[in-house]
């Protein structure tokens, strides 16, 4: 059996929604340069007929392994056109399931990152627009921030370094 499923290879070979959105309504980042995976997600938010906020467009950039790239690509296809509330319901397990094969435990890390980047982008959109942030999302945001702070403690200066080499 090959290491990676057809679905993973498909997204890896031709990732969907790659790139940036100019002046995004929300921008999120997860992962870090030290573990070798870093991803960014850009959102354009609109409204549907019912007046609910929806993700009108989404783009991503990933420096990372095949699973990280496939995951982010898959995630963008899942959330495009969905309401924010629907998008927030997507879990890493959903991505793992859709990619079609059980990943080794150490690879789960790469699928957490895609979901984290999405949450961060929605958090960014909420705070920019002074929309009340749900308790769960706030918790998740604090967790992601904490990981970054711990890394900064362990590898001093890595945040400045990331800024230096990334766009």
């Amino acid at each position: 059996m090959p290491i990676y499923s057809k679905e993973i290879i498909k997204h890896f070979k031709e990732p969907k929604n790659v790139g940036k959105i100019k002046k995004p309504d929300g921008k999120g980042e997860a992962g870090n340069i030290l573990c070798g995976d870093i991803m960014r997600l850009y959102l354009k938010i609109g409204e549907n007929k019912k007046g609910e906020k929806i993700i009108e467009d989404v783009k991503f950039e990933t420096l990372g392994c095949i699973v990280a790239i496939a995951n982010t690509s898959l995630l963008t296809t899942l959330v495009k056109g969905k309401t924010i509330n629907e998008a927030l319901k997507i879990k890493k397990e959903d991505l793992v399931k859709r990619l079609g094969q059980p990943l080794p435990i150490f690879k789960i890390h790469c699928s957490v990152l895609a979901v984290d980047a999405l949450k961060e982008a929605i958090y960014d959109y909420y705070s920019k627009n002074k929309i009340e942030i749900p308790e769960n999302l706030e918790k998740e945001h604090q967790r992601i921030i904490r990981i970054k702070e711990e890394l900064e403690k362990r590898y001093k200066g890595f945040q400045a370094f990331e800024k230096e080499i990334l766009e």
Binding site: P15, G36, I38, E61, L63, H109, I165
Partner: protein, 394 residues
Amino acid sequence: MKKKIYLDYAATTPVDPRVVKAMLPYFSKKFGNTMSLHSFGQEAKEVLEESRETIANFIGAKPNEIIFTGSATESNNLTLKGIALANKDRGNHIIISSIEHPCIMESAEWLESQGFEITRLKVDKYGLVDPEDVKKAIKENTILVSIMHANNEIGTIEPIEEISKIIKSQISNLKSQIYFHTDAAQSFGKIPIDVNKMNVDLLTASSHKMYGPKGAAILYIREGTKISPLLHGGGHEAGLRSSTVNVAAIVGFAEAVKICQKEMKKEAQREIKLRDKLIKGVLEKIPGSYLNGHPKKRLPNNVNFSFPGVEGESLVIQLDLLGIAASTGSACSSEKLEPSHVLLAIGLRPEQAHGSLRLSLGRWTTEKEVNYVLKVLPKVVEKLRKISPFKTRS
């Protein structure tokens, strides 16, 4: 699908068809146990000793100084643990480099947990050990120094002769015995090895890295060296490695050595040409790329690059989809998520190590294949950089 290009000879090599032919009689026809007294056993014992002699001759050793083992990992474990246990009444200090193969690194770590003292020598930006550092590290309780002959990831060839000179001079100062071991798993069969010229007491070499079968390796042990076995039992290999002897694999190993004896020099020249063409081409064609390891003091078949803005595993899989088999020091394929200790030891930052690619050439690598890699690799790196938020993308 078009023909696949194998550029991972440092991981393992295909068995040379001449080797396979030499091995075949030893599976079903000449299958005897070397310990049996009857003619089947005698036949096996005879070819075992012939093989030992062939390999001993190849490295300037005496046949009784060669012990057959199952793998380079086993030979290296036997060296560290066997020397440590047999000499612990004299001292408990062992010196290794910080870029040894994991089987040395982790054996040393285990010995440390058992009360031995380990010094891990730093290397320079090319991965070279400074012989002066060995001198400084040697103490009265030092019993063993183990420095690899050539590095498996970056191909750097260590100054073994100079290191051994320094060790021998320290031995006469301290009036105690310090054994010197080198892991030659990557260099054996690729560059000349002479245990007397290198003045080593122990040397590890493996069959499957030089067109022999897997499951056979040697440990050269200079006469008079005090070492304990790890495997006790039937007393095979002069009591140092009890286990029924894998005759077919050893016959194959010896045949692979015979072929190298004849072809090594010419083959190395051929591979150096291809290697340097690959290095030059990649550095010219891929912006921001650089070579890891020493430009000259490196194995004829090893190339190792870093491509900032790209993650190594993605690179390897993308190349595999295009029919090229390569390897990386990135960590996403390992459970640790930490990149290669070798690349970190030569001073690479984690993200540079994550963007590394090793291409290792071999007996069947052609210029046409190198040209194909030079055509495809720049495009692959560019594609991955386009997906990534990396700054210098074009």
